[in-house]
Symmetry: C2
Subunit: 296 residues, 2 copies
């Protein structure tokens, strides 16, 4: 059975590289049973890491040219991929291969008209004005904390390296791909062109699962399941969630958190795939149907 496993921030860790390795060791132990079963691609987010990298770029901007955002996304694929590969190859007992992954987006995606995803460090009002003029960025005020760059979050359309991922899986390797949702690119005159945007990693993972014909997408997040009435006294853990019911539930799910995960699961369900949303700690139980939320 082919699986795509999407690791969220809690499964990756934050802080120093050593701290992240410790968290990843636990995550890789939790997903070990899935690694034994068949073809596996591990995907991952990059929120804290790309935030750190963008801050580094700014702090050194007077001395070395800052990279465009799409290259900072690329950097985090390798940085996090190297950490994952270290722990995953020990846990999997087989080869792990981390592939730089680009994802096609549509240059006419409406997301480009309303950049909505805040990214990188905070700036003063003066700095924000200068960055808007100098670099053509769009910045919005975040109450009390200053101004922050916002970038588009377009829909992922196609994984550029899908055949390479298939080849790695066929060779028996566990693949690490689509880090941070992938490097967003458009095609222009036969050239790939990197785009300053970020792709939601769960949507990219669902696309990957669809393109691979994977039977399962596992989204590891900080809570063991999707809840109705989340964080209310009468919250209710959902075990099975048919796509139609999932759609009805969307408005009550947290934007930028559980909602995009369930949206990704709905997209995959429409293509015949199944998604399991759970935490690393609850994964063993979830695989036996005693925890987590299954969307199909």
């Amino acid at each position: 059975m082919a699986s795509v496993i999407a690791l969220g921030g809690n499964a990756l860790g934050r802080g120093t590289a050593a701290e992240q390795l410790t968290v990843l060791r636990g995550t890789c132990a939790a997903i070990a049973p899935l690694l034994a079963e068949g073809e596996v691609v591990v995907t991952h987010g990059n929120g804290p890491q790309v935030g750190n990298e963008l801050l580094r770029q700014e702090r050194a901007a007077d001395e070395v040219p800052p990279l465009p955002l799409y290259l900072a996304v690329a950097q985090t694929q390798a940085e996090i991929g190297a950490l994952i590969e270290t722990e995953l190859s020990a846990a999997a007992g087989r080869a792990v291969a981390c592939l730089l992954t680009h994802v096609h987006v549509d240059a006419d995606d409406p997301a480009f008209e309303r950049p909505s995803k805040p990214i990188g460090p905070f700036y003063s009002a003066d700095q924000a004005q200068e960055l808007e003029r100098g670099r053509g960025w769009q910045l919005v005020e975040d109450a009390g904390r200053g101004f922050r760059r916002v970038v588009p979050s377009p829909e992922p359309l196609e994984i550029v390296e899908i055949d390479a991922i298939r080849a790695l899986l066929a060779s028996g390797a566990v693949a690490v791909a689509c880090g941070g949702g992938g490097i967003p690119v458009v095609s222009r005159n036969g050239h790939l062109k990197g785009i300053d945007a970020v792709i939601d990693k769960d949507r990219a993972s669902a696309l990957l699962a669809r393109q691979l014909g994977a039977e399962r997408l596992v989204i590891l997040t900080e809570v063991p399941a999707v809840y109705r009435l989340f964080r209310k006294s009468n919250q209710e853990e959902i075990r099975e969630l048919p796509a139609a019911e999932a759609e009805a539930l969307l408005p009550e799910l947290a934007e930028g958190s559980m909602r995009p995960k369930v949206e990704a699961a709905i997209e995959l369900a429409r293509a015949g795939g199944e998604t399991l949303i759970t935490s690393a700690d609850a994964l063993a139980d979830a695989l036996e149907g005693r925890a987590g939320t299954r969307i199909a």
Copy 2:
């Protein structure tokens, strides 16, 4: 015919991402004939890029934890790999896949006892003392410019992801691998462990060519060939250089520049492989035996 093509700084460009893309467009046009011939792996250096990244890490060190050097090497594999992939996929007319690459080194390599490779920004004497105490770095004074970190440059022993590279080549993709000489790792209790060192990219490329059984390693550098009496009035371009003669020539070649390239070529020649050292501009002539230096 399988080829490994190693891109040096001149073939990659420096400066902004846009400037690097322009240089890479020319390089990829130059290597296009090789891309049509069979299996190709493109490797590359990362000197200016990893220098920039280490400087960024330092400038933001009070706000976000600096990454260990091996992860900065990883970052540059993706940053440069994404730029190469953009131009190479257009020039090759077939899929390009960039793989995060680790390279095994020996924890007892004598290089670890005498770090020799200067890397990253310059520091004052006070900063140097603090970094030696606080981070256990070794720093040396560079006449007039301040203190600089030095790291070991151990011998590359084995490409960790060699089977994955083979799988990518078999799938028909052009592979990009071993960026910056690869991420140096040692094995410890079944775990890969990243090591703060840098591997010479030409030696890593020769190892890769050997492990792949490639028939040819092409090292693209800033000069069209290896010279006897380089930069003297009677300098003499060398067309064919048997390994034994190459060995005798080593002492007169520039350390850290042409010498490691010829050393890598000698290693490969001993394993039955052939190396062509030339510039991107002279490559077309070199492939027809009218330029460049062939070491076999």
